[in-house]
Amino acid sequence: MMNPKLLGAVAALALLAACESSTDQNAAATGAGAGGAAGGLGTGLGSGAVRPGSQEDLVANVGDRVFFATDRSTIAADQRPVLDRQATWLRQYPQVTVTVEGHADERGTREYNLALGQRRANAARDVLVAGGVGGSRINTISYGKDRPAALGSNEDAWAQNRRAVTVVR
């Protein structure tokens, strides 16, 4: 089980995501891709209204994304706990299959960023697999710089866009 302190941190992260969502026209929800459930980010917070094992559950109670440094695709130490929690969550719901979507910021060229996004998605997937999730349950896809979560052209937006997002299929 998750300890209360960690849960608080997750909730804060989810709140942050919800804030981004409101300022960026549901960028977070859209970033979650076609499989993600739009909305529900706020209502799901600790209310128990979200369906266990759903995308809303993942976003609200676990965290659906990790972030990367510029041009890097290694999972930083401060991002690792999110993926560890995702692995725990995925083991809890063995019927759930996911796609890990890799993304890059707009400050690179399209083709390189496509490959970089794939490498990020693979890096996140590897941590999930190492955490005991069967590889057959995890797809990966890269969108390069072509599906930003934050639409601004500044450091904050770029940091939000260098990400790997786990999306329930």
Partner: protein, 454 residues
């Protein structure tokens, strides 16, 4: 006008008639004055000294006159757009187009500053058009070129582009690039839900049409050397892979049988294979796929992300982009994958290399100090020259004569809603002047310049 099958038309036009494109015939006209040989103007003068040229409307009666006028305006637009010609203002013309088409009064063109003059005449017979065209050197009063074309009436623009290429080649001494098309990615909608479709148009923006319907994202189109096929990256069924698109049939098919994503395709100069990048684990490596056997062969395994491969025009070498040394740089290797050596050593990261059709230059995108730039260097990495710089730009593609490049240029979002962001096509002379925005109906990216269509 002759309306008969191609064989008998050729016989009727004389042995010198040639089929320049489906349905379009051309043959030389007898000279009306002393005819010159070779180019008359040195291209190295062109930048500071564009050639003053007069292009009066092509003469013709009724509908033919209207088409003749349109042909002249397409030619004028092409020549002006190249930055290497300075059209003389129509208002200054003394001799009428009709009279000039019969016999130029050179004095009338000399006094208004024209150094070169084109004259022409259009005739319509049924569903075909016949266009006579002559190019004159005004000062020595010589005919430089005389050519006639016949084509289905609907192809009158092709004739205008073919004439533009003749003018370019005769006056500048190198082949033109007007009878070409541009394929690109038409973009619309907010950036987090962007619609990306392949579109194609003549190089002057006319005959625009969409090739894909937007149900899946399409990126990075590249022309086959025969200009009838395109390789591109498709998100069809949410699986990003390289596809082939046949422009005649509209047929799309996935290329190769790779487990992961495939991207950044380019045809070999002989058109018989495609090089592309395929991701696996932490790496992206370059492969070549034979279009006949569909067999793939791995060319790089150097670690890191190897993307954006492009053949040299003689097919002997491949330039590509790799971060194997830590950050993105350009490397050249032999076509069989051996002997990769880094060629970019300037400040910043280098990407999207593309080899000039002339073989003498490699164009690239450079990212340094938060700015993007388009530049060229020699294949050994020397002689680096930045042509254009800005907040965002990438993806150079050469016109078939290697003289002009197209790329796309982005402007940043002003706020967190993404307002103000745009992406447009631009072109520039490789000497670094005449940068122009290319008009497209929507935002645009990833231009690909076709080979000459004929």
């Amino acid at each position: 006008m002759i309306r008969s099958p191609a064989i008998s038309r050729r016989a009727a036009l004389g042995a010198a008639a040639t089929l320049v494109a489906p349905g379009i015939w051309s043959w030389p006209l007898p000279a009306r004055a002393q005819q010159t040989q070779g180019a008359v103007i040195d291209i190295t003068r062109a930048r500071t000294d564009p050639i003053p040229i007069a292009v009066p409307d092509f003469a013709g009666a009724g509908d033919a006159g209207r088409v003749g006028r349109d042909i002249a305006r397409v030619i004028l637009n092409n020549l002006r757009g190249s930055g290497l010609f300075r059209p003389v203002e129509r208002a200054a013309f003394i001799q009428t187009a009709e009279a000039a088409a019969q016999a130029p009064r050179f004095q009338d063109w000399r006094v208004i500053g024209a150094q070169a003059l084109t004259t022409g005449r259009a005739e319509i017979a049924g569903d075909r058009i016949r266009v006579e065209f002559r190019l004159w050197d005004v000062l020595p009063e010589q005919q430089i070129q005389g050519t006639a074309f016949t084509a289905p009436l609907g192809n009158w623009r092709r004739i205008a582009h073919l004439i533009s290429d003749v003018i370019y080649e005769r006056l500048l001494g190198e082949k033109g690039y007007f009878d070409t098309r541009v394929c690109y990615v038409a973009e619309s909608g907010p950036r987090d839900r962007r619609n990306r479709r392949l579109a194609i148009m003549d190089q002057d923006g006319e005959n625009h049409r969409f090739l894909t319907d937007g149900t899946f994202a399409a990126l990075t189109p590249r022309f086959h050397p025969n200009a009838q096929q395109i390789a591109f990256m498709s998100y069809n069924q949410n699986q990003p892979r390289v596809f082939l698109f046949n422009l005649d049939s509209g047929r799309q098919e996935v290329l190769g049988n790779f487990p992961g994503m495939t991207l950044s395709p380019r045809f070999s100069p002989d058109g018989r294979s495609v090089i592309l990048s395929s991701t696996r684990g932490n790496d992206a490596n370059i492969y070549i796929v034979d279009l006949g056997s569909r067999r793939e062969r791995q060319l790089t395994s150097g670690g890191g992300l190897d993307v954006s491969p492009c053949f040299s025009p003689d097919g002997s070498q491949i330039v590509f982009n790799s971060d194997r040394g830590g950050d993105q740089q350009l490397y050249v290797m032999s076509a069989d994958g051996g002997g990769a050596r880094r060629i970019s050593f300037g400040r910043g990261r280098y990407a999207t290399p593309v080899w000039s059709p002339r073989g003498d230059l490699i164009a690239f995108t450079r990212i340094a100090s938060g700015q993007f730039a388009i530049g060229v260097m020699r294949p050994d990495g020397s002689g680096e020259r930045i042509l254009s710089e800005g907040w965002g730009m990438e993806g150079p593609t050469f016109a078939p004569n290697g003289r002009v490049m197209m790329y796309f240029r982005e402007s940043p979002a002003r706020d967190s809603r993404g307002s103000g962001y745009s992406s447009r096509l631009a072109s520039i002379d490789i000497a670094g002047f005449n940068e122009r925005q290319i008009a497209t109906p929507t935002d645009a990216s990833d231009p690909a310049w076709s080979p000459l269509l004929s």
